[in-house]
Amino acid sequence: MSRKMSRRKFLKISLSAGAGIAALSNGVPLAAQDMMYSEAPELAELVAAGDLPPVADRLPANPVVIEPLDSIGEYGGAIRTGIFQNRGFQARSAWGPEPILRIGWDSSTIEPNIAESWEYANGGNTFVLHLREGMKWSDGEPFGSHDFDFYWNHVLTNSTLSPSPRSEFVINGELAEFEMVDDLTVQWTFVAPHANLPGLLSHWIGSQLPRWMPRHYLEQFHPDFADAAELDAKIAEAGFSTWDELFNNRVAVQYGLHFDNVDLPNLLPFKTSRPMELNIVVADRNPYYWKVDPEGHQLPYINQVILTNYEGADVRDAAIAAGEMNWVNTDLTFTNFPLYQENAEAGNYEVRLWQTSRSAEHTIMFNHNAKDEGLREIFNDVRFKQAMSMAIDRQTIANVVYQGFGAPSQVQVIPGSKFRVEEYVTRHTEYDTAAAGALLDDMGLTAGDDGMRTRADGSALSIRMDISIGQPGSEDVGELLREFLAEVGVDLDVRVVAREQIRALIDNNDIECGIWIADKCSDSMFPHTPVWHVPFLPTDWNQWGPQYAVHYASGGESGEAPMGDVAQVQQLFDQMKTTIDEAERVNIGQEIMRLNVDNLWNIGDVGEVPIPVVLGTNFRNYPAQGFTSFDWLGNHQYHIEQCYFEGGEWVGAPS
């Protein structure tokens, strides 16, 4: 118990210091050379029977040593988890994922993973990855540079499979040059330093690349290698009409795991043993997994993952309450917390409250490019946004919508982030209708007899707010906002419309005021994808400067040219892309934060609203408080491979 506490304290300290356990970062693993390795009893049996090479031969020369969170585990048991309608954004951390690099325990630091280390050379323009000697695919075949070479020269640059090159490898419009230096070294050379590449390789794209890499398996489906007649026969047999259909089917993964193709080798702790059939998929321990604990036990501790796809969210909730699962943190909504809690004891699970990557539940965005000239002028006046922010009674939002949870927050970054400045987070979040009214009076938006304000031209100050349908909490918050703004004489015309409709409104610049879930505000996404803080990506949901984003993405060819602080925040983002030095990156990020709070382009409601996480009562080595979100591809920073069931099986497992 004392160990647990100290560990948690350590986590907290490392979070606030932004440093993390990654003292072993940048490539020096704990010494593993002299370790005696051992393995799960099931695998030992296979070795004894001669069906599997000994564990020492299966592991790389220097396996990754994972120090467990609380205690050394025991082998056995099954993770039972569930997704619905085939959507399992966060379930992926039940079976991995294993990106090329990864995020550390502190949810912030980038660490080595599949790659043993990385470095910049050539004045920063060249990015070098060093791979692990003797690392193997789940079928026992060696993994190395040749697999990267296959991906680069036969997938990414193949115009049939990839009609346009991946933007992650494009800098200043130029695709990187790839080079296979030796068996264990690959490098990319860009026209300028690609400082965000480690961040990208530890995130989504980093977890996607390995599926296109097992060349020893995939060559048979690729016309660059396969015999044409044999390939045609394979295509016909599988019922496809072109080779790329077959290829895409063979590499298809759902959230990192191959649900359908048991033959696709992977680098995850688990590999599919029973393909998706009637909504259930099973993945068993990967005998060639390349991580061990400090005592040399090959990981993972847990035998298998059983995943059920439910046809709807409600039926999955019912199954959770009935005690059919021991690991769920996929799209659980906070409003269902009482349901989970009520049935926890009978269902042999517990509910933990974790945090997400939302700096605020919602960002409220007034369109600074609004077509209506009058509104545009008002929205570009910072006094208006300060008034709107102070007109929001955030405590009432927390009480009514989030059962009392939530702290007033602007759209900045989450607690623990190295870019966070506390004063920015709470600025203009105090509820003060008098001050808000005074600011609006100052602007000349005078109130009539009915208390409602008019614009300079005498027309009523009415703003349309479009809310996307189906976002938990958004409609409730929108309704409250309408009441709060009416208090200070501003009429908010709230509409709830389909997501595709919002997309069209943004693309046509017809948004007046938008509201969206303010996610992606963590160290693992903000530096490369600051969707709220910088208008740069016109295909995303930023609605305060959609035309600035178009201008940025089109290289100035279309959209509206930003000036002043908006131009500056885009320049800061450009600097972030090319700045490798960590201290400098923090400065740039904090400057972006300052410009944001000075201009209140986004107005936040409440932050730190927790998310329920359901875990079996004897599930061990997972933090009591943690972060889970797309930013960490679920919560892969907590190493599913070192989790275990005390006693070797979940107490609620069906007999």
């Binding site: 954004f89 346009s164 046809e311 019912a318 199954a319 009935a322 295909t539 797309f630």
Partner: protein
């Protein structure tokens, strides 16, 4: 015994069948266009759905989005997409589901057997229960049992299926320790097929069968009862009775044969309902049937999967209507092949 009418009009009937068959081809062609158009009606396409929802938070640049469109062939004009699809369908290739990256045939093959395992017995059960009850209720109008059946029938008609499913689910799990969702108990989910697993399936199958069957049973009872009451008042019944026909023979030879017409003529709609009619119930009960697959395909605008399923359902409707016409011709001597 072959009906004399059928025997005499054999030539007429052959030409009728050929005519109907040609009509069916034209209808299927029109349906295929309508299906393709309807699926494309909502704003956006699969790539939009993928980018906004299915990908789960990943951001996409315009180049990536364009590349995805090109990969799925969604950047081509509508008629080109349609022609590609329909020529492949005619060759027996239903295409690849965008969402699953699997062939449509493969996806349907996985779910069809279980779908039929639920709906086929249900449909049989509906007729086996409803037709005799309808006849009994009509013959014993205002009897105690007639009231009981009418009461249950109206309740069955009035309760939405999904609500009924939730109630049974609650009762099942609270009082009978039934599985909350799905067709197998957790201990059998992963087991290979065995007699015990089959029994487990039967133990879990009763909820969907009751839920799916109730409304149909109730409706068929009411139709059968109403038609029978009308027919029993016809003069030909009196005539037959006066001629000394036994009551049982009379009823089954004349009024039942007429009264069953509306039931037979709706068999055409039963076939597609077997495949897709249970979507909401299947979602509530978490049944891996084709209904939810179609619903999700439509929501995600998974063109080829949704299009092929709708085409398949239309084909079943057309064939079902043909079958019910043939049944009617056999059962109702008043019908002529003209």
């Amino acid at each position: 015994m072959i009906s004399p009418a059928l025997f005499l009009d054999w030539e007429c009937m052959t030409s009728y069948i050929i005519r109907r068959f040609l009509q069916m081809i034209v209808i299927m062609f029109i349906v295929s266009i309508v299906a393709f158009v309807v699926i494309q009606l909502p704003p956006g396409d699969f790539v939009d759905a993928y980018v906004t929802t299915i990908s789960g938070g990943e951001t996409f640049t315009q180049e990536t989005i364009d590349a995805l469109r090109a990969q799925f062939g969604l950047d081509e004009p509508f008629h080109v997409q349609y022609l590609k699809w329909i020529t492949n369908v005619l060759r027996g290739n239903y295409g690849v589901s965008f969402q699953h990256q699997r062939t449509v045939a493969d996806l349907l093959g996985e779910r069809l057997p279980l779908t039929l395992a639920i709906t086929f017995p249900t449909a049989l059960l509906v007729y086996l229960i409803a037709i005799p009850i309808g006849i009994y209720s009509a013959l014993n109008q205002y009897s105690f049992l007639d009231y009981v059946f009418s009461f249950i029938g109206f309740i069955g008609l009035a309760i939405p299926n999904f609500l009924f499913a939730i109630i049974l689910l609650y009762i099942g799990s609270q009082y009978f320790d039934a599985n909350v969702a799905g067709l197998f108990s957790p201990e059998y989910e992963l087991a290979p097929w065995s007699f015990a697993k089959f029994l487990d399936l039967l133990a879990n199958l009763w909820i969907p069968v009751i839920v799916v069957g109730t409304a149909g049973t109730a409706g068929t009872i009411r139709v059968m009862r109403g038609m029978m009451l009308d027919e029993m008042r016809q003069p030909y019944v009196e005539t037959a009775r006066a001629k000394g026909l036994s009551e049982a023979r009379l009823i089954f030879k004349y009024p039942v044969r007429v009264a069953i017409s509306p039931v037979l003529s709706t068999i055409g709609f039963v076939l597609p309902a077997l495949i897709s009619g249970t979507a909401i119930v299947a979602i509530v009960l978490n049944l891996p049937t084709t209904g939810p697959l179609l619903l999700n395909a439509l929501l995600a605008q998974d063109m080829l999967l949704a299009g092929s399923m709708i085409l398949f359902l239309s084909l079943l409707t057309v064939v079902g209507t043909f079958v019910s016409d043939m049944l009617l011709a056999w059962a109702d001597p008043r019908i002529q092949f003209e």
